[in-house]
């Protein structure tokens, strides 16, 4: 049946977001079941029959109105408070992260690493370190979306958006897709990069060799 649920969680943040998701999902599922059960019950139990010709003469009930206004409101307050907590956790920047510049183009992703290495559609991330993405676009709006991190920001021309991740070391060696999820034209569906999780030492080694190769090819 293919992919039909949340992907793997690469970061602590992803675990937190999923925690919030499952909490909200549990609440809405409860109310979904409640409403559907009441709906079906009332449809069946109070269907029109020879003995049940007319409905009761009831116009409303203020106590009930009060309850079903207040209870959803209180539950939404709890959801809101839980969400606010995660928003500030995501927004608070870590000290001294590895900064990778992400630049959207029609139709590929460009990544610039701290030592000047520049790749297309090839994103490498050191595990166990704070990595910050500084995201922008060279042309139209793109969407930099990392589903396993539960994170995305649009890539806009003339504006920089950011988010940061800290990948758990156990995912070293795995690769994931980096799709564009903001509509950007006929190349939109094929604007997909690859993300490789590396150990810190492998990452640094890769940066060094890549730097050599890139300066060689630009020098020749």
């Amino acid at each position: 049946m293919g992919n039909s649920w949340l992907p793997v969680q690469l970061t602590q943040m992803a675990h937190n977001v999923d925690g919030l998701f499952y909490f909200v999902l549990a609440v809405v599922t409860f109310f979904f079941v409640l409403v559907e059960v009441l709906l079906i019950t009332f449809l069946v139990r109070y269907r029109r029959t020879k003995r049940n010709q007319v409905g009761a003469n009831v116009h409303g009930n203020n106590k009930l109105e009060f309850v079903w206004t207040l209870v959803p409101a209180l539950i939404l307050v709890i959801m809101g408070v839980a969400s606010v907590h995660d928003v500030y956790a995501a927004q608070t920047q870590p000290a001294k992260p590895v900064v990778i510049q992400v630049i959207g183009h029609e139709w590929y992703w460009e990544f610039k690493y701290p030592n000047g290495v520049d790749t297309h559609n090839d994103l490498r991330i050191p595990a166990g370190e704070d990595v910050r993405f500084d995201i922008t676009s060279q042309d139209v709006i793109h969407g930099f979306y990392l589903a396993p991190m539960r994170m995305q920001q649009d890539a806009l021309p003339g504006r920089e958006t950011q988010f940061w991740v800290d990948v758990e070391p156990k995912y070293v060696g795995q690769t994931f897709l980096v799709p564009c999820d903001q509509f950007c034209g006929p190349g939109h569906p094929t604007m997909v990069g690859h993300m490789t999780i590396m150990s810190e030492s492998d990452f640094n080694q890769w940066l060094a060799t890549e730097k050599q190769q890139q300066s060689k090819s630009s020098g020749s």
Binding site: S4, F32, F42, A56, V58
Partner: protein, 541 residues
Amino acid sequence: MAAVLEAPYAERRSFVREWVLTVDHKKIGIMYGVTALFFFLLGGLFALLVRTDLLVPAGVFPAQDYNEFFTMHATVMIFAVIIPLLTGGFGNYLVPLQIGARDMAFPRMNALSYWLYLASGIVFLLSMVSGMPDAGWTSYPPYSVTSTGPGIDLWITGLHIAGLSSILGAINFIVTIQRMRAPGMTLNRMPLFVWSMLVTAYMQLFGTPALAGAITTLLADRHFGTVFFNSAAGGDPMLYQHLFWFYSHPAVYIMIVPAFGIISEVLPVFSRKPIFGYHAIAYSSVAIGFLGFFVWAHHMFVAGMQMSEGIPFMISSMIIAVPTSVKIFNWLATMWRGAVEYTVPMMFASLGFIGSFIIGGFSGVIVAAVPLDMQLHDTYFVVAHIHYVLFGGSVMTIMAGLHFWYPKVTGRMYSKKLGYLGFWLYFIGTQVTFFPMHLLGLAGMPRRIASYDPAFQFWNDVCTVGAYILGLGTLVIIYNLLYHAKRGPKVGPNPWVARTLEWQTSSPPPEHNFDEIPVVTANPYQPYTAEELAQAAQSAP
């Protein structure tokens, strides 16, 4: 007086005089309805093209064609089907009848609204000949500025004309409802559909100018060398998004609040019981209409806003869930201890609407939470959400309304068998088409892509099968309604034993609506008696 009013009936009028030159709100309402149903078939055809493309991961059509298909699908469905059908169709036909008036306040302006709407639809059709818009119904710059060809210019032109039609219609409804109610009909005795139309008209009046501003500046950026959205020259593409959503989120409520009104009319009639919580339902519509103007940036949580800037918009969006759930509970309570009759409109309104729409409501709460939207924004989860609201909500209700007021409008009854068949195809098709989209979105499938990762194929194929079921259901429903408009068995003035004023006059009503303007002494949701229902059953043909 009576002689003067009846005089026009003596002569047969030509088609032009009867329809083209008419200023009768009922005829204009019918024209809105028929035109919108034509565009519904067209918009549905585009939806089927989109779903057909997604049968295989590589896509069937070139990406450019696919982009034009989904752009046209949403544009046609929103601006040429749901909004005009609910406000122009149902609103026009029902509001004057339900408030006991002879017509709208400005009958000629009403006709103008229709003809402008038709003109906007023709402009959308023209783009099918000369090059369709390809930037999505949101048409975000800079892509929509760089997109070449006349598609986007025609899209802007069509939207402007549709917007003007909307604004004129809104003014007409506000004045009609405020000034032309029958003697004794205070605001708190108005039918709930009229309440919902009043709220909708205010939303259209205040929201549509923002859209006009957004697309006018877009046109200027495309052709007149302005730089409103060009960041290299100091402009800002986010300005467009703010203006666009300042209209387009209220537009979602413009598409659902009248639907709420229809549900509030259908449920009490077939529960044979007064509506539960009249005031709560009426005032929650007002609350939704008001709050609807404070949520627009929840479409932009990841568009370049500071993350915490989303919090106030998250709160306002979640607050809207409160009046909405108040309505749901009141509707359920209306059926509680009722004598529920499983008529075709009741099936659409109860199982069809309540059963499906709540899924869209609940997924709305999920995407309203900023951290969850950081993940789900622009994925198929959002596509699932909007379709549960607009299809499970608005379209399901439109079908409830069409099957409810059909005998009033035509004076005849459709085939109930085909009606039930249409309902079940719609109910099953809705779940099969739109529910798997939640799963695709959770798994990370982006929206608006013509080709996709093969891992997503299974659920995409399920969605496509569902879409074909919906297509079949649409054909059954439209055939049933068209065929029986001239051939169905005749019905009396009030075949459903409903309470609102439109049922107290003949079916179809005379041109002047009422021989005598009724005097209103209570709201229309009064209890039923067994004798009255037995009598109605006996007198039915």
